[in-house]
Every structure is written in structure tokens, then in C-alpha cells.
Amino acid sequence: MKYIDEFQDPGLARRLLDDIHSTVTRPWALMEVCGGQTHTIIRHGIDQLLPDQVELIHGPGCPVCVTPLEVIDKALEIASRPGVIFCSFGDMLRVPGTGRDLFQVRSEGGDVRVVYSPLDALRVAQQNPEREVVFFGIGFETTAPPNAMTVYQARKLGIPNFSLLVSHVRVPPAIEAIMQSPNCRVQAFLAAGHVCSVMGIGEYPELAERFRVPIVVTGFEPLDILEGVRRTVLQLERGEHTVDNAYPRAVRPEGNRAAQAMLEDVFEVTDRAWRGIGVIPASGWRLSSRYRDYDAEHRFSVTGIDTREPAECRSGEVLQGLLKPHECEAFGTTCTPRNPLGATMVSSEGACAAYYLYRRLDITTASLEASPVV
């Protein structure tokens, strides 16, 4: 077993793997939803340690990757305006918009700043009352509550020069959209653990029942993934489809009620476009009417943007689990982390980046071995 010695507890990893190997009798396709899980899987070769019948399909759980090009272009436009300080998490710096990225905007003189927390952006606004400070609010249910709290604080403290460019997304509607796709092969989900730390598991039983899919809440460390796969395969083999929490040290069934209450106060559910996938009904949040003054899209009328997706980028298929990154013709040739066509290659949680970082040599060797000798 190629990588097993690198596991935190190789003995436990071996036992979990033995258990999975002895349980599986048929082919199964599991989707891990979280981009962090995808990276753990590829980094540790977990997909290669599993029985051949167990296929892991990589889902759309990378917040940077699913942020639509139009929103990136709006961010670039706002960040380029004089008088604006544009704050973002570091992951967004090199995500390509139409023609450029935030890294280039900064090189060209735009005041783009990286913050660790959205509250840092609010502090920048307090310290620069003569400037407009905009924070790029993207992410899933884990990132939305911090951003919601920051807008709440901005209003409470009366900080008028702060606003949020919002592009938040929600996991359960994405699961629903994937299951409703005519090309869907997914038979079970490893649900994203930290999303459930916030939201709990209450949204999942209805999905598990309606689509007859097991949903196992899973952490993102190597042993967490193996345990999630073990429990999922056990359900599949038994013909069960329940919601199971394999990450109880970080996930309480009710989630974090305080965070949920803040989300309800500051945001409202809306339809949202996912990059490469299209609009998924009720799959996102926008600022509720009480907080509309803090919406950067309202404050800066950003219109007339000519958004152009690169035609050769197939990240939409990668995000839906329809294509493995190395099956894309551009992978590793016209698309690399240095010159990415899409966000899946540049994001630290993107599936293409994971394959490029940890699997490229394997793939190259494998494809060379498979090629006929000329």
C-alpha cells in the first residue's frame, strides 16, 4: 500500500482499509463535496488505496472555484476604482476573471489587501474613513457566518464606508442539482464536515430519503475520509440511505445555533449562478433588505462588463464530477497553476490543482506507459 506509512496512524488506516476491502462486493460511486477533502484524497493517494470498485468523484465544494466569472469581474472592476480599498482572502488573488486577476490589479496600482478575517477588513474601514472599503464575501456555510457578523458589526458600530461583495453559496441545493442531473452517477455523498459544524445535519435527511442516497458527514483528515468511506460503503452494500455523522468531534447535530441565527438576520436565500454549472435555485445568500446599504453591488453600480469564459476550460464538468481533471485536454498543457484557464487549477482547494500538485508525475508516467511505442 503505497502511501499508508504517511498516515497519522498507519495501523488504524490499514484496519479501516481492510474493512472497506472486505465489505465491497460491487462498484460504487461516492462524491466528496468538500474541496479540502479532495486535496486530502489526492495528496494521500486514498483513491488508489481503495478497492477498484469504489470510485471517488470530486464535487463542487471549492468556494473559490464556484464563484462565477461575472462576480470575479465585478470584484476586479471595483478594486480598480480610485478611492477603493479592496479586501479579500488570499485564495482569490490569482483566480482569473476576463483577462486579469486581483494580483494584476494590485501590480497596476489598485489597493488590494489580503486579510485573514473579514473583521480585519472592517478595521481597515475604521482606519480609513475617507476611503471605501469593500470585502469580497465568497464561500459556503462555514464562511458566510463570519461575513454576516462583520456586516452586523459595521451597522452596529456605524461604519458607513464598508460594504460586502457577496457571492455565498449553500451545499444542500448543490447536492440536489447534482442528483437531478441526467448524467449523475453519484450513489452516495461524503458531506463536508465543517459546513455541518455550522448548519448541523438537519437539511440532509430529506435529501437522503428523496434521492435514496446515503449521506455521511465526514472530516477532512486522511483517517476521517477513510472512516467516511467505510460507513458509506457499508450503507450502500446494505441498501440503506440514512444520514450518518462520522465527524462527531466537530459536528453537533444541531450545528451552531448562534451562527445560524446571524445568517438568518443578515442574509436571505437567493438563486445563485455557480461557475461552470449555471444557476441553481435557492443555492446562495444575498444581503437581506435590512442590510442592503452594505451591498457593494448596490453601492458601486458595476455594469457593462464583457464576461468571457475561456472556451477550452472544462471546469464546469470537473465541478459536477462528470470529468476527472487529467481527462481535460488542457490539463498540464495550456492550463497550469502558472497560467490557469479556470479557478479549479488555481484555488488551493481546486480539484485540478490537487491533481497537478500531487498526481501529475503519476499521470504522466501512466500515460507514457499506456502509449504505444513509436
Partner: protein, 106 residues
């Protein structure tokens, strides 16, 4: 960005009416908002995401995760200078510099 890192609360104070903590992530110290885990106490561990404590974690699990993240270089990924990381990936000089490092360390 999606990574949530366990950290240990070193001290707690009220600021602008908000409960804030100083939290140690295996040697890197950051300010963390406790509004979503208001009963978290000094010495306890929590999973922290973008400067917010989201769920309590037991000490043993937290230490194991931190050790793993340190081994895999993930703490550097989370807390390092993002301009340097982006510059390295793009092959361009960093437009960040000293000011950018200070932003991250704030």
C-alpha cells in the same frame, strides 16, 4: 480558505462590545471572534475559520490535527504571506512586500 484550524484560547477580552480571544494555532497567534461560541473559556480548543471560532474541540483531537497540519505544511498555506504564495505560483514578482506581510500579521 475553507480550511478550519484548531486553536487554543490564550486570553479573552471584550472589544467594541464583541467577545474576542487571542488564539494559538501551533505557534501562530491570531485574534479570533468568539461571538458564535460565547461560552468558550481560556485553555479550551475550538475549530477556527477565517477568524471565528465555530465549534468546540477536545484537546487531543485538536493537538493531533495541528500536528498533522504542521507536518503537511498546511499551517504555512493558511497563515503564510498570500502575496508571496501567489507570486510563487504565477512566476511574477510579488506586488505585496512589507505592507502585505503586515496586513496578514494584523
Amino acid at each position: 480558505m475553507c480550511l478550519a484550524v484548531p486553536g487554543r484560547v490564550l486570553d479573552i477580552e471584550e472589544r467594541d462590545g464583541t467577545r474576542m480571544a487571542t488564539v494559538d494555532f501551533g505557534g501562530v497567534v491570531k485574534e479570533v471572534c468568539l461571538e458564535y461560541l460565547p461560552d468558550l473559556q481560556v485553555g479550551e480548543y475550538a475549530i477556527v475559520h477565517v477568524g471565528f471560532a465555530l465549534q468546540r474541540l477536545d484537546e487531543e483531537s485538536a493537538k493531533q490535527t495541528l500536528e498533522l497540519f504542521a507536518t503537511l505544511g498546511m499551517l504555512q498555506e493558511e497563515f503564510g504571506d498570500p502575496w508571496e504564495l501567489a507570486a510563487e505560483a504565477s512566476g511574477s514578482p510579488s506586488p505585496g512586500g512589507i505592507e502585505a506581510s503586515q496586513e496578514v500579521q494584523q
